[in-house]
Symmetry: C2
Subunit: 733 residues, 2 copies
């Protein structure tokens, strides 16, 4: 390992024209091998020709503005649901875009509204016959005849988007005034494709010094519908994974031809819920995703082939226009990308990046972004900011993931000039990069130690949404918190969906399964639990010795007299208010400290599980309640057959809860006997062994100095380790 | 009014043999006109022949024990669901009574199990074919062939009850040792009817001094299934209004003949939820209730006719065996009862009693019951108890209702001897009785002033469960709290159900409607909201100027993209977890004290609405949020059309919240202009005007001295009133 050069390579520096000297000085200090441009910055010839590899960003769909402006019917579109209107008379008129941001949307009256739109009586839930409504292009309205006073009506209609959302967001956030509003063109139109490929060809020819073309990302943005009043309701709807903004009459026609059935507007609108990634997807929508993924691969491949023709590399940025790209898809390799770049705030995003197969290079863009202010408007690179501390805190979050999964490169983004007055920051990044290169070297030809059992996370999405719940961390979605805990634990984690489970059962080696989320969500599984085979397979899995960790409303599905499909396995269920007359088993009231159990052995502070599920009741004395609140268990364990189940009423990422989860998984998998190997006693620290290098890596995940005792391979021999705040220790073992 | 004798009459005293002198002394002091026996006490000839009218209690169905013991097939029965068993193999055996109290139940193997029982695969939700299971009478089991390992199974079976529940409860609670276990006979069997009528005839003949026969109550107890382990799960199921314990093969056959369709065991079992009054009833179950009510009237009338034949009066006690009696039913008068006796803890129970039509006499049995300890085991008539204070506190709760609705008599129950060492209690009751007689005199030929608008409470039960949610107060059912508030308010309150609403619309004079409860409950309405006419009628009602007060999850029904059917009327809806991607309108964050509104004008302490509904979001600026918590509105108002809606996220009875509700109703009904008439400023006090007597009654509902200012008929002229703790003031107006 001593042969590794820790001062050089695997780092992408954001260059900045006008600051050539700084750019080259920091490129050297930080050991960059690559220099990139950023949103708002450009590279000067002096930088481009300095011998470093050059990354250049390109966003194809918004790159052909003059053409887009004269081909308004080739802009991207989507279905919108008008806000509900309650009928007062037998004729009701709905202004389609009322409540929506009219700088983003214009109604698509061009593509035969009667073919594509639908009007619903939301009181009966039934569609209004097409003969009963008419539209007025001039007024932007639909008028419905024969409405029932007191019923509410909505119109699902197609709208073109005349302002691309990332352009719109940056423009409005940064007060860009009368700078051009960029629009995104629809790549599914043959003419558009021709224009885009021509543009790319020219661009590639005109960028001879660019070594890496960084696509931002491919063609379709995540869904983001803005409201009319940005102060009170800017985001009418926003979802990092919804394919809503890929829709067009052409797409729907091609879909029908390929799949043999027709999708309707309501397949996309769902009464205004759209196809949020957080809700369990319909099978029809899954077909549509597959259809779009096919198209994005097919046309994306043409773009990438062109890049390769010019002897350049093609990287893809996993944010913004990533819909249809699906880096976790088994077909992702078909694009032929050379690299994947993920911007990370959290450890689970490191794992998300590392998880993608089909690219050689996995790169992280670290935070802080080199901007004067952070994401919430707090000062970073300006008076009052502490960018070094910010960098340390972001680093300890990401590092947990980097220790567990191989990452090839890291980089920064933004305005490099901003770091000039912060020499401490410059030094910290230099050290951080050495730390990264050392950790990377340990991964070479090796894997960090993992526990001798596999863990599966069961969701409606399975591996397609491995290590994320759609985009960056969202509070109130407990699986995010679980993923953040898992991202740094010495566990082999798989993500499975219900179709996989029914088709092939629980994957080999998996000893315990996590099901976590609120009822109806994609994360707990929603309607997928209506297939009795799911309950059967998982019940038998635990009967035969497997483990289950249910969090929140696991396996929830409204049924007569029960709520959790796996209630018998968990030894408890949830009363949603229908059991006023049903008695509840009186369990022994617990007190965490007073109830010794393997799972709670490291609990020293009051449990904080975030937003919790209430109304839990246990079936009998076989269920041991380890923590409760107001007669509703918060943490309970239940042996079932030869296996074991654990229930947690919520989950929130913290060092304490990460340990709790780790222990819950080990206990549910009946693996207490293997507990202790490479285990760090202090919950604010974690230990990892790389056998090939013979190194024990101990990291401090806290901003305070910490001491810990690490047990070695035999789970007995203990080593005391002292770690400075944010620090790391590498020991020979 | 001065002609009324306040010292005499309208009072039922519990006499006690062995304490003849005390009985007669207190009968005189308290002005009793009637002496009764109680559970556990008897009257001696000296008392019976003292010239007072005599009440005697009789419970027919448990009165013929020797016959019941030799006719075990004539005992009452019911369906039970076995506790779920998860199959491990292709053959699964279920022990039917496992988990149930075998001193209460024995399995009914006599009545062709294959005809009446059902076995369910609860994993698929489907019934198991009758050819696939067999039963073993000796072992008390059912064995199912062809079970799928990992699926869970239950058996719905018939069980005889060998111990009547009130007998069982008293026996076990009071450690009665080897005293006889009484069983209740099935009154639907012709032979049983014959035996019961013979018994009654003899009993009537043998009680020549009895003037009033108090039935306890008629034939069927409320549902109460006990568990095997009384320490951890005594009440497997208990519901004050469920007809579960009326079922028998004979009843089911007669039902089929009359209604032309067959009920199944699952119509009663519902996956273990049974037909809890708290859940929205099915139409099939409503038919069955009607069928039983018919029978109870028909056979009950024969009993009452017999009582009348002996020149006695027939009263019915509204507790215990009241199922099928239905004192709120429009057919109740057909029984021919002379009186109805209700035991009361709360004001709503006073209203419940007064509400019943078809009896001449409405009598309340007040608390405290003359027992050494109270309901929760606290001392009453023994060392450490304070029965006078208990009596005062019970009285101020009941009095609110007595001021609002006419009650004919009051009484006490229990062991009279216990009051002997409490002369203060004896004096207090004397005064209380004078207060009651005075209030009763005000009601004579008059009604207390009520606001010039009517209020309707909309539930799945409507008037059949007026002024109750099934039995005594149950925490966690917010409509109980609402009823307790309403019971003392100067409002004309009606109870309507969804069928009435659809058939005849909102009743005339009703200006505002309350819908209150958790989703799926009978109180919010559950599946009844799936009829679009309900939404239509109520939406139009508010559009045209009506009011709506929604509490908890009003009009809740799972639908795509919405939850409250009346969301547009309320101006808000609930996110049950499916709207992670949907933006929420940012309202101005309120602070009750800083947001002047008619509704909150008297709010001086932080709102406490009990268990509240979270996830509420408003649609736009038309909805004014008056109180919130964690971005979820708790109290909001919304004008809609010409009408108004108010939303409360929960409700808990308190003096403050009673005022809040009163104001919310007035505001929603657009009746601010009529506010102030006979209004008492201090929320712990209430004022009522009886016009005919020219009396203003001001009551203190608190245990502290209070001052208040009452505005008179003109809503302006103010009178200052001082009230001692628990006190009352009568002013001439």
């Amino acid at each position: 390992m001593s042969t590794v050069d820790l001062t050089q390579g695997d780092f992408t520096l954001p260059g900045e024209a006008g600051y050539e000297q700084l750019t080259l000085r920091l490129a050297k200090k930080w050991g960059a091998d690559t220099i990139r441009d950023s949103d708002g910055t450009q590279l000067s010839p002096e930088i481009v020709q300095s011998g470093y590899a050059i990354y250049s960003t390109v966003c194809l769909v918004r790159s052909v503005q003059p053409w887009a402006r004269v081909h308004q019917d080739k802009l991207q579109q989507n279905f919108l649901m008008s806000f509900p209107v309650v009928a007062e008379k037998a004729t009701t008129t709905i202004t389609l875009l009322k409540g929506y941001f009219t700088e983003q949307f214009v109604v698509n009256f061009k593509d035969s509204p009667k073919s594509w739109w639908q009007v619903f009586d939301r009181t009966t839930g039934k569609e209004v016959a097409k003969t009963k409504w008419s539209f007025n292009e001039k007024k932007g309205t639909v008028t419905i005849q024969g409405t029932t006073p007191g019923h509410k009506y909505t119109v699902n209609f197609l709208a073109f988007r005349i302002w691309e959302e990332i352009s719109m967001y940056n423009h409005i956030t940064n007060n860009w005034g009368d700078r051009e509003h960029l629009a995104a063109v629809d790549p599914m139109q043959p003419e558009t494709q021709k224009v885009l490929l021509e543009f790319l060809d020219t661009w590639l020819r005109e960028h001879p010094d660019t070594k890496v073309v960084r696509f931002t990302s491919m063609f379709y943005n995540f869904s983001w519908f803005w409201g009319a009043d940005q102060k009170t309701l800017r985001d009418v709807y926003s979802d990092w994974g919804d394919y809503a903004m890929t829709v067009s009459p052409r797409a729907l026609k091609l879909f029908e031809k390929k799949y043999g059935y027709k999708l309707t507007s309501e397949d996309f609108v769902h009464g205004g819920l759209y196809n949020s990634t957080h809700n369990a997807p319909s099978r029809r929508y899954r077909d549509y995703m597959e259809f779009v993924h096919d198209f994005v691969i097919e046309f994306g491949r043409k773009c990438i082939d062109l890049v390769h023709k010019y002897q350049k590399l093609a990287y893809v940025f996993y944010d913004d226009h990533w819909v249809g790209v699906e880096p976790s898809s088994p077909r992702f390799h078909e694009f032929g990308f050379d690299g994947l770049i993920k911007c990370v705030f959290n450890a689970f995003e490191v794992r998300l990046c590392a998880h993608s197969k089909g690219v050689k290079t996995h790169e992280l863009r670290l935070h802080p972004y080199l901007f004067p202010t952070g994401l919430k408007g707090e000062p970073t690179f300006k008076e009052g900011g502490n960018p070094t501390l910010d960098a340390k805190n972001f680093w300890i979050d990401a590092r947990r993931g980097i220790v567990r999964a191989p990452i090839d490169r890291i980089g920064l983004g933004g305005y490099l000039s901003l770091v000039e007055p912060f020499p401490e920051f410059q030094d910290y990044i230099e050290g951080l990069l050495k730390e990264f290169r050392l950790l990377k070297s340990f991964h070479a030809g090796d894997r960090p130690w993992t526990a001798p059992y596999k863990v599966a996370v069961l969701t409606a999405w399975g591996d397609l949404r491995a290590w994320t719940c759609s985009g960056h961390f969202t509070p109130g979605v407990p699986l995010y918190d679980v993923l953040e805990s898992l991202a740094g634990l010495p566990l082999d984690v798989q993500f499975i969906n219900f179709d996989d489970l029914v088709a092939t059962g629980v994957p080999k080696g998996v000893k315990t399964i996590i099901n976590c989320g609120r009822a109806g969500t994609a994360w707990s599984g929603g309607h997928y639990w209506s297939d009795p085979r799911v309950e059967q397979i998982l019940t038998q899995f635990v009967q035969k010795g497997g483990g289950l960790v249910g969090i929140g409303e696991p396996s929830a599905l409204a049924q007569p007299g029960q709520f959790f499909k796996l209630a018998q396995v968990l030894g408890l269920d949830r009363d949603c208010g229908e059991r006023v007359a049903n008695g509840k088993f009186k369990y022994d009231h617990p007190h965490v400290a007073a109830t010794p159990h393997f799972i709670t052995a490291d609990v020293t502070t009051p449990l904080d599980l975030g937003k919790e599920t209430d109304g839990i009741y246990v079936f009998g004395p076989d269920t041991t309640v380890l923590a409760d609140k107001g007669n509703s268990p918060r943490l309970a364990v239940h042996p079932f057959g030869k296996g074991r189940a654990v229930y947690l009423s919520g989950f929130k990422f913290s060092h304490e809860n990460t340990r709790l989860l780790h222990r819950a998984l080990a206990w549910s998998a009946s693996q207490e006997s293997t507990w202790g190997t490479w285990q760090s006693s202090n919950v604010r620290t974690e230990a990892t062994c790389f056998a090939r290098a013979g190194k024990l890596v101990v990291i401090n995940n806290a901003g305070s100095d910490e001491e810990t005792v690490v047990t070695l391979a035999d789970a007995k021999t203990a080593k005391k380790v002292k770690l400075p705040a944010h620090g790391i220790q590498i020991l020979d073992v």
